[in-house]
């Protein structure tokens, strides 16, 4: 199967464009293989993700897109029997190299999951959690400032500023998901991985998450896995299509949804797959 990796074309679609990038890949994946026991889930994936863009991963269930996403911050390490080949470079450093500090890696490469998973703690404590365990602040006032900023960055501050001490579990589903984003942002990651972050949300909450992603790319490199192709089209600058553990095509989102290079991609996004 031919695998074409086109250089992503950056499209600025906002009145507040992302900061200048130096054209260097923030994440560079080289011939990555991944195995669950003896089953190979990813086959020689090579891909570059430029800094401060949104890249969407699309593909049918079981195609390996979530597995691939989790290789970017070694979240698969916790699954027994898994094995990785190839390299994942973040700022030219191989995250699978011996001696890599995985805790530090996951601070730099944050993750938001499909189902919001707030801790049974207050809104404030949820956002402060990572800052506290990583000892990233020196005073309570600095901690409060970082929490406030993270909640503002997650577009949640105005909705919760008067009830920071109430339980996070009292928030709506959409608010809980933005709280989880705030929790990830509080420790100032460089890359944000999102695994179907809006799939369990209603259209209004989904829209807020999508607007948030659009704003966050000014500061972060964002990778989002989504089953919703319209969502990929709305929020991402580049899109990667996976099938049966292989990367079929990477292209600018505009090109991907109007004139993809690969027939397999075209068949998938026009609903004629299979």
């Amino acid at each position: 199967m031919p695998v074409e990796i086109a250089a992503p074309k950056l499209e600025v679609r906002t009145s507040a464009p992302p900061r200048e990038t130096n054209g260097k890949a923030k994440v560079a994946v080289r011939e990555l293989d991944f195995f669950y026991g003896r089953v190979q889930a990813l086959h020689s994936i090579s891909l570059e993700i430029p800094e401060r863009i949104v890249m969407a991963f699309i593909g049918p269930s079981g195609c390996g897109k979530s597995t691939f996403l989790r290789t970017l911050n070694r979240m698969n390490d916790v699954i027994p029997g898994t094995r990785v080949g190839g390299r994942v470079l973040i700022d030219d450093h191989d995250i699978y190299a011996p001696g890599t500090d995985v805790v530090e890696l996951r601070r730099r490469v944050g993750m938001v999951f499909q189902k919001s998973n707030p801790f049974p703690k207050s809104i404030f404590d949820n956002v402060a959690y990572g800052l506290r365990i990583n000892r990233l602040t020196n005073s309570n006032s600095e901690l409060a400032g970082r929490v406030e900023q993270a909640l503002k960055d997650a577009a949640l501050w105005n909705e919760v500023k008067d009830r920071l001490k109430t339980s996070a579990l009292s928030l709506s589903g959409g608010q809980q998901q933005r709280l989880c984003i705030a929790r990830a942002l509080a420790i100032r990651p460089e890359v944000l991985l999102m695994d179907e972050p809006a799939s369990a949300l209603d259209p209004i909450a989904t829209s807020k998450i999508e607007e948030l992603i659009f704003d966050l790319k000014k500061q972060y490199t964002i990778v989002i896995v989504t089953h919703n192709m319209q969502q990929a089209a709305r929020v991402s600058d580049t899109t990667a299509f996976f099938l049966l553990g292989k990367l079929i095509e990477v292209n600018s989102t505009e090109k991907m949804f109007t004139a993809p290079n690969e027939k397999l991609t075209e068949d998938y996004i026009t609903g004629r797959f299979g």
Binding site: T258, A259, P260, T265, E266, I269, G271, R272
Partner: protein
């Protein structure tokens, strides 16, 4: 029925409708030119009476395109097809409008003594019809190569128009008594020349649909 089958059916229905509209435009032009060359005002009036159906068909296609975009959210080749059809339908409707204008001119001229100079216009009309048929065939088969060839052939209709223009001006000077009728024929020639341009638009849309290439104004 699964989703893509449903979409396929809708796209197929849309294709049928736009081809029907193309057929109507083609027939209107053919009949209008027949009314002019054979001095048959009844046929000219049939062309005018039929134009409401052409307009109705264009509106139906518009609605269908909007429905498909809103409800089916087509992508890639499906999106290019729907966008091409949405832009093609008004072009075909305008071709039919030009045919109506020719039919009106035929009625006016048929009430006056016959002129000799219709021959060149038949040649222009024949070329315009050939282009239109070819464009509809190219669209049907998503044939960008043929579409590009038809675009090139528009220069022939432009040449015929220029020739006709100069010939009619000469006639106006040498035979002033026929100047009004010659001027009407000049308008017919202009309508045919514009139809050639519209056919070019259709072919450009076919190239976009087939290859995702924008060749307009290139």
């Amino acid at each position: 029925m699964d989703t893509h089958r449903h979409l396929d059916d809708e796209l197929s229905s849309l294709r049928d409708r736009v081809l029907l509209l193309g057929g109507e435009a083609e027939q209107a032009l053919e009949r209008a030119m027949y009314a002019l060359s054979e001095r048959d005002s009844d046929v000219a009036r049939q062309v005018l009476e039929h134009d409401d159906q052409v307009d109705h068909l264009e509106v139906e296609i518009d609605r269908q395109c909007i429905d498909i975009i809103a409800l089916r959210q087509p992508a890639a080749r499906d999106l290019r097809f729907v966008i091409s059809v949405a832009k093609m339908a008004p072009v075909l409707e305008r071709i039919a409008d030009h045919a109506c204008n020719i039919a009106r001119t035929a009625i006016d001229l048929n009430n006056e003594p016959e002129l000799k100079s219709v021959l060149d216009l038949s040649s222009m009309a024949g070329h315009a019809l050939k282009m239109l048929r070819g464009a509809l065939d190219a669209f049907t088969s998503s044939d960008a190569i043929s579409a590009r060839e038809i675009i090139k052939s528009d220069s022939e209709i432009n040449d015929l128009y220029n020739h006709t223009f100069h010939r009619l001006i000469e006639l106006m000077v040498t035979e002033p008594a026929t100047a009004t009728r010659d001027a009407r024929l000049l308008f017919v020639a202009k309508h045919l020349e514009r139809i050639g341009d519209y056919v070019t638009d259709i072919c450009e849309l076919t190239v976009y649909m087939a290859e995702a290439a924008f060749i307009k104004h290139t």
